[in-house]
């Protein structure tokens, strides 16, 4: 039994303005209501398929069988009786109600005074124009729900309902929205909803024009009968409301590696050996209407892979979230390889990995008509040791410096932490969306790099090792304010301002020690315990997007950035005190333009242009207090300017429904000029040589891209793509004189001038085919071939030779639904590259040549409604002849999991 006493007053402008902006209604309603349950969430149960089994299936590629995707069978029940009329309003805190009342008291007379409103009360509707109620017993699921799904939920569902009016639950439907009560049980002729769908109220026709077809008289008659019969919700027999859903997937994994197991870990981001735990768990409980608690995560012991995410949400109120996650990044400790040394590559015999993690908590407020606020804190960290490419010399003959090759491995210990506070606000006022994002972070970093050299072939250990200790901490605050507004249907404007401030300090220390006894310091090198760093940035941004004609849109934006960086330090070099400093003032102005045109049949045209002008006032100096001048003392003042022009144009054309062709061209040219107004050193030479030696540097690039997509038939789709990239690097230097060491010691004059410092060309061909011969079998394969070559201006045929070669990458998968309970998956990934170089005699061939295979196969079987088992096997092989086969490995892996889901 419901009762309702409507007292409604609708004010709408007589000029026909749209309802959302110009209709105000004050209402007071008393009602009883039956609360339906939420519709079931469209959960997707994923099957491990295309994803390699060592990855987390929780976020797997989403391959799934149809029967594992429960269609939202929204079940409405009458489990909950709410006798609170307009319960949402009643629950609001008093001061919000007071604000609303005050707003109504002020806004209503003001609106009446300022706007030619007319009274548009429900009584004004000519009810005789309404179709009569249908003379049938209404079944909600059969008669009403399809109408709502087709015509109403698009705007009046649970998420972002227009005019705050929802039709997804009975309680919400009876509560009404911004315009008051819309459904009066038992009185369809008086219910505004019927007036709207019958299109009897000007500017309130539902669905609005362009948002759906008007309801037919038969549909309106059904709605009337439904209201007259008491607004009964679902009549379908439903079981108890699903309040709790729980899924857990215990998993065990075993991986064995023959060969370079550390390289395997680095490639696949997993630990070999036994590991196990919970690959995935998820718990969800519906606490009430719009209230939900979820917990999800994973715990993989042995792999140091953890995640926990907790969330408590209440619709139209707010949320609280907490999370923690960590994974481990592995590194190989092997160095380089030089075949003439006739020895294997060197390694450090050190397990190297970095744990990367973060923990966060955030609270959000999502009250309707209030600014959306999110306040959060996040802690990020990296902790461990990683290999570096800063390899050290290995010497074959101490008397011949040319016999050295830098192949001895190096590493770095890292301890990094970030504490970050964030505050996000967004709100729409008068059609203007305002956003503010604040980030304040405290950053702390300590690293120690270790390099050992020189190492003489045949010696037991390197002669010595160097420690480079870096410390850095800073506080940075960034605030970005942004606003945007759709000013007209054809005009959108946005703009913003970003301010960033960083203050930090750093320290550095270099020392050498004996590898056999790291506690024994041989000598201390450069030290700087006091380094101060500052950075300030201001960025302004203004944009417009215009669409004055149908199918044509044009956007233009301008951005201005000013950044100042300063650094100052004091230390020792290594025996004399020294000071050093730098500051850089950067001004960047960037203009961007874009054009899209879609009205040519089957065609989209686009053109973009970006221009950027940058000027940097760059000052550096260093002074070593050693009573004599040398090139360690220097003073440099450079005015650097750059000019960027970036053009793109292209089209997408689809002359046939199943085929589309995309093609585009891009030309990018960045020209840098350097004016060194001061460049002196302590020896009174004009110019310290580098970098105040480069006068100009241009980077010019052309790119062509073409793609053809063909849906030949419903079961076959192919995509073919081609890219060409060609880039030239041109450098101009001053003429100068210097002394060279080879072929004989002599003074030479460098002529200076422009030279093609580098030339890079690449062709990339990609192809994908998706083949579905039966609806239960899905085959897909992606093939990519690239051919690239870079030649630098120093191609002396010995030390430096072109870096050129080709890469082939193949990814394929097959998913087969074997029967009602069993699925089979298989995937194969392959890549190979040949960038081998032949300059062993006078150089060091660093080009890589390798072949990598990975094949996985698995079966998933649903044993019962609640239990699914999965068994997978993987085989991996890696061959790298260019490393002297030091990095080769073969691996086998087995994974078994059991997914238990409730209910």
């Amino acid at each position: 039994m419901q009762s309702m006493l409507p007292l409604s007053l609708t004010l709408s402008p007589s000029d026909g303005a749209r309802e959302k902006n110009c209709v105000m209604r004050a209402h007071f309603a008393i009602s009883d209501s039956l609360a339906p349950s939420d519709g079931e969430r469209g959960n997707i149960h994923r099957l491990p398929g295309r994803t390699p089994f060592w990855a987390r299936p929780t976020a797997s590629s989403g391959w799934k069988s149809a029967d594992t995707l429960p269609i939202a069978n929204r079940r409405y029940s009458r489990l909950k009786v709410c006798a609170t009329p307009d319960a949402g309003s009643a629950r609001r805190v008093p001061f919000i109600s007071a604000l609303r009342l005050a707003f109504l008291c002020v806004a209503t007379p003001a609106a009446l005074a300022l706007t030619p409103f007319r009274l548009n009360a429900a009584e004004a509707v000519d009810e005789s124009k309404l179709p009569p109620p249908a003379a049938v017993q209404i079944d909600f699921d059969r008669d009403i729900k399809p109408i709502f799904e087709k015509a109403c939920f698009r705007c009046h569902g649970p998420e972002r309902p227009k005019s705050s009016f929802r039709l997804d639950t009975r309680e919400a439907a009876l509560k009404g929205g911004d315009h008051g009560v819309d459904i009066i049980p038992g009185q369809s002729a008086k219910s505004p909803l019927i007036h709207y769908v019958a299109r009897l109220v000007e500017d309130m026709e539902m669905p609005p024009e362009g948002k759906g077809d008007p309801l037919t008289n038969d549909q309106i008659a059904l709605l009337r009968a439904w209201i007259d019969q008491g607004v009964k919700w679902s009549s379908a027999p439903t079981g108890p409301e699903t309040k709790i859903q729980f899924t857990v997937t215990p998993t065990i994994r075993w991986i064995t590696v023959n060969g370079d197991e550390r390289r395997f870990r680095e490639h696949y981001w997993v630990q070999d050996g036994w590991s196990g735990g919970v690959q995935d768990f998820r718990f969800e409980e519906k606490l009430g209407e719009g209230e939900r608690f979820t917990a999800e995560g994973r715990t993989f012991f042995g792999a140091h892979d953890y995640q926990l995410k907790l969330s408590l949400e209440k619709r139209d109120f707010g949320f609280g979230r907490f999370g923690f996650e960590q994974y481990r990044r592995y590194y190989d400790d092997t160095g380089g390889y030089y075949r003439p040394f006739a020895t294997n590559s060197f390694d450090l015999g050190k397990e190297m990995f970095v744990d990367i993690g973060r923990a966060w908590v955030e609270f959000g407020l999502t009250l309707p008509k209030w600014p959306r606020m999110v306040l959060g804190y996040e802690y990020q960290y990296k902790d461990g040791s990683k290999s570096t490419l800063q390899w050290s010399d290995v010497i074959a003959d101490r008397r011949d410096p040319d016999s050295a090759r830098a192949i001895y491995p190096a590493y770095k210990d890292i301890d990094e932490s970030v504490h970050m506070l964030k505050l996000d606000l967004s709100h729409e006022i008068g059609g203007v969306l305002l956003e503010d994002n604040l980030r304040a972070e405290l950053y702390d970093l300590e690293t120690q790099r270790v390099s050992r050299f020189p190492f003489t072939l045949g010696a037991p250990i390197p002669d010595r090792a160097f420690r480079y200790n870096d410390e850095h901490d800073h506080f940075q605050a960034v605030n970005a304010f942004r606003l945007e507004r759709q000013l007209r249907d054809w005009l959108f404007l946005s703009g913003g301002y970003l301010f960033s401030k960083l203050d930090g300090d750093a320290a550095f220390g270099l020392s050498a020690f004996t590898p056999s006894d790291p506690s024994m310091t041989l000598f201390v090198g450069d030290i700087a315990n006091q380094i101060l760093l500052e950075r300030r940035s201001h960025i302004f941004n203004a944009n417009s997007l215009l669409g004055p004609w149908e199918g044509l849109s044009f956007f233009a934006g301008v951005q201005n950035e000013w950044t100042r960086e300063e650094g100052f330090g004091q230390g020792f070099d290594p025996d004399f005190p020294k000071t050093f400093a730098s500051d850089r003032d950067k001004v960047v102005v960037e203009e961007s333009f874009g054009l899209r045109y879609t009205k040519i049949p089957f065609t989209v045209l686009h053109a973009d242009a970006k221009f950027q002008q940058e000027s940097i006032d760059h000052f550096e100096r260093q002074f070593v207090d050693d009573t004599f001048g040398d090139d360690r003392d220097f003073l440099r003042d450079t005015d650097a300017t750059s000019d960027l022009k970036d053009y793109r144009a292209g089209l997408s054309i689809s002359p046939w429904r199943r085929t589309s062709l995309q093609a585009g061209y891009r030309h990018r040219l960045k020209q840098n000029d350097f004016d060194h107004s001061r460049d002196t050193d302590g020896a009174d030479f004009s110019g310290n040589g580098y970098p105040a030696f480069i006068r100009a540097r241009d980077v010019e690039s052309d790119e062509i891209e073409a793609k053809i997509v063909a849906h030949w038939v419903s079961w076959l789709k192919t995509t073919l793509k081609y890219q060409l990239i060609a880039t030239d690097y041109t450098t101009a230097a001053d003429p100068s004189a210097t002394t060279i060491l080879e072929p004989v010691l002599m003074d030479v004059t460098l002529p200076g001038g422009r030279t093609l410092a580098g030339n890079y060309d690449a062709h990339v061909y990609s192809f994908n085919a998706t083949f579905i011969p039966w609806r239960r079998l899905h085959l897909s394969a992606t093939f990519s071939y690239s051919d690239s070559r870079i030649v630098s201006g120093v191609d002396n045929g010995a030390g430096v030779v072109p870096y050129s070669g080709d890469i082939i990458s193949v990814l394929s998968s097959a998913n087969w639904v074997v029967n009602e309970k069993t699925d089979w998956q298989m995937s194969y990934a392959f890549s190979t590259a040949d960038y081998s170089q032949k300059n062993e005699t006078a150089g060091w061939p660093l080009g890589i040549e390798y072949e990598r295979h990975g094949i996985t196969t698995g079966i998933t079987r649903r044993c019962t409604k609640n239990i699914t088992t999965n068994l997978q096997y993987g085989f991996f092989r890696y061959d790298e002849p260019s490393s002297g086969r030091r990095n080769d490995y073969t691996a086998h892996a087995v994974l078994a999991s059991l997914m238990i889901s409730l209910p």
């Binding site: 519709g39 969430r41 994803t51 060592w54 990855a55 976020a59 989403g62 391959w63 069988s65 029967d67 939202a72 939920f153 705007c155 009046h156 569902g157 998420e159 972002r160 696949y268 800063q390 050295a404 890292i414 969306l433 994002n437 790099r449 390099s451 800073h474 760093l533 944009n543 650094g567 330090g569 230390g571 050093f580 899209r596 997408s652 429904r657 580098y690 030696f693 793609k707 890219q723 690097y729 210097t738 060491l741 460098l750 001038g753 410092a757 990609s766 239960r776 897909s780 992606t782 690239s786 870079i790 630098s792 201006g793 120093v794 030390g799 870096y803 087969w816 639904v817 074997v818 029967n819």
Partner: protein, 260 residues
Amino acid sequence: MNNWRISAAVMLGALGFAGLFLSSCSTVNRAVIAPPEIEGATFVGNKVCADCHTNITRVFAASPHGRYYKEDLEWAKMSGCESCHGPGSKHVQVGGGRGRFIVNPGKDPQSCYQCHLEVHAEFNLPSHHPVTEFRMNCVQCHDPHGHDIMKPSGGLAMARLNESCAQCHREQAKPVVFEHEALREGCTTCHQPHGSINRKMLIQADNNLCLKCHAQVQSGAGQVVIGKSDHTTRIRGRTCWTAGCHPSVHGSNISPHLHY
């Protein structure tokens, strides 16, 4: 021997196809659904998406993806919102909601791989960001809609060079006294962000990486002078960043020549 192997392969293939054929004839109602497909859903067109996601759709034309964006329903599968998020009819029917009958490419890159084939292939190379391992996703670096100020990559947001990378690689992006001017050109001057055959995702593994910018006119053949310093011997057995020469490639607080 070879004939025996060929016969065995043919037999296995025939058995496989026979299994598939027999399986296809049985009364199994299930089907494989691959993202961004959504079982039972149909395309509704971009205008329907715009009803609720106005803040995104109204600026989308200015985004990089907007270059191939077309409003017509018949294009929805190939160049509309639903080409990435899947057909939206069921999402609309249930009144929307996060994750309700809609594909989120931020959680699953399969939608992105449909068009970015070469990127998918790059993630298959030995040195790559862990996207295929699901420890990263595409939207951590890219803003597909072009309006997120905290993830600048085109569109109407405030794009700032290297900021996408600096979100995680703070150490490399932190301020220093003596910078390496290469960072002004962007991280991608030296690194291939999706994946590379070279460690540390370097574009080149040898000195070409540096010399493409640092080469200058020499006074004689075979000579390698950089600035005023003869590097002819040095670069034969070393890269620029090894042997303690210029290892601080991201800038240094103490050495203007990036020695350490």
